[in-house]
């Protein structure tokens, strides 16, 4: 009879295969870790990593958070394999994506469409000269930064429309009319630059994104969208 660790290994590998087969997403980085250190240690390494969880975000986009190893870490079936601290980290990451601890169900937040649109925008501008006028490519790092910004937006704000700029920045635009509009540029390192028109008024600003969208910017978006 397979041990719990062996079952976790089998479940993880089969889950990755199904992701590739049924959803076209191949988590190659994680699978390489699994082949090198086994699923249990690979999962622990992921939980220790401070880097952006691109794989988890991708699963969210696909509506498959319940297929993530983080979900397995907090599950009744496999929770015993992980320390309380590891479970806390996994739960925190899931909650940031809309996981509800009260009923342990995984729920999706409406930013899923925005994340998909960001990916499509980045893919369409990933090559140099994408605009026909010598534009710089929009990098995966910029996409990752823009995703973090998107996930940090207050839930009452509507989704902005993504775009790309010739200097390789991604943009998030909230638009009511040509003179009531906010455009936010997200730079590769996460710096934010914005400008807005509010009828005859205007506003600009810059800030380094540190996990929270600046209150000044959120307030500006609300003012622009206020009828």
């Amino acid at each position: 009879m397979a041990t719990l660790v062996e079952r976790f290994e089998q479940t993880t590998i089969e889950g990755c295969r199904r992701l590739s087969r049924e959803h076209g997403y191949n988590p190659t980085y994680f699978l390489r870790m699994v082949s090198e250190m086994g699923a249990l240690e690979a999962t622990r390494a992921l939980l220790r990593s401070q880097h952006a969880q691109a794989g988890l975000t991708r699963l969210w986009e696909l509506g498959l958070l319940d297929w993530s190893v983080e979900a397995a870490v907090v599950s009744r079936e496999y929770g015993a394999l992980f320390s309380p601290e590891e479970q806390r980290i996994a739960r925190q990451r899931l909650q940031a994506l809309g996981w509800s601890p009260s009923d342990s169900r995984l729920e999706l937040r409406p930013r899923r469409d925005l994340l998909r649109a960001l990916r499509t925008t980045q893919e369409g501008a990933a090559a140099a000269g994408w605009d026909g006028f010598g534009a710089a490519p929009v990098s995966a790092e910029t996409l990752s930064a823009a995703r973090r910004v998107a996930l940090s937006l207050p839930t009452d704000l509507p989704d902005p429309t993504p775009g790309a700029e010739p200097d390789g920045h991604l943009t998030l635009e909230w638009y009511l009319s040509p003179r009531r509009v906010v455009s936010v540029s997200v730079a590769p390192g996460g710096d934010l630059h914005w400008a807005a028109l509010l009828d005859e008024e205007s506003a600009t600003g810059s800030s380094r994104f540190t996990g929270t969208v600046p209150a000044e910017l959120v307030d500006l978006v609300r003012r622009v969208l206020a009828q």
Partner: protein, 140 residues
């Protein structure tokens, strides 16, 4: 073909060719992204002057073809708009486009660039490209 005047008059209409559909909103207005300058901190435009629409589209089609992108449309902006925003329009005739000009004097700070681009976008008129460019007949 006579050389165009080197001084760009405030009343002149300038065209910025649009090669990406995402730069045009669903309501037919233009995003500021279409006007943010890069690299040389100048914006490449084409002066209408006495050209017909067909001659303008020929230039746009050539630009698009050279880049391997579709010609989506053009943004028309009066030269005076750039002047009001503190920018200058300098004629820069090219062998392939005698009506070529550059919008210069952009601020170096990104938020200020974006604000100018928003102002330009708000005053620009989008003209979609609806068909094949007519045969060359007096364009560039």
């Amino acid at each position: 073909v006579s050389a165009p005047p080197l001084e760009v008059a405030p009343r002149e209409i300038l065209a910025r060719f649009v090669l990406r559909p995402g730069l045009v909103r669903a309501d037919g207005t233009l995003r500021a992204d279409a006007f943010v300058p890069f690299r040389h901190v100048e914006l490449s435009v084409t002066r209408h002057l006495d050209w017909t629409a067909g001659q303008l589209w020929n230039v746009g089609a050539a630009v698009a073809e050279a880049q391997g992108l579709p010609l989506v449309g053009r943004a028309d902006v009066q030269a005076a708009v750039f002047g009001l925003l503190g920018l200058a329009v300098e004629a820069d005739p090219l062998p392939s486009n005698l009506h070529h000009a550059n919008v210069t004097g952009w601020p170096s700070e990104k938020p200020a660039q974006k604000l100018v681009a928003l102002e330009v976008a708000a005053r620009a008129t989008y003209v979609p490209f609806t068909g094949a460019a007519p045969a060359l007949g007096g364009g560039p």
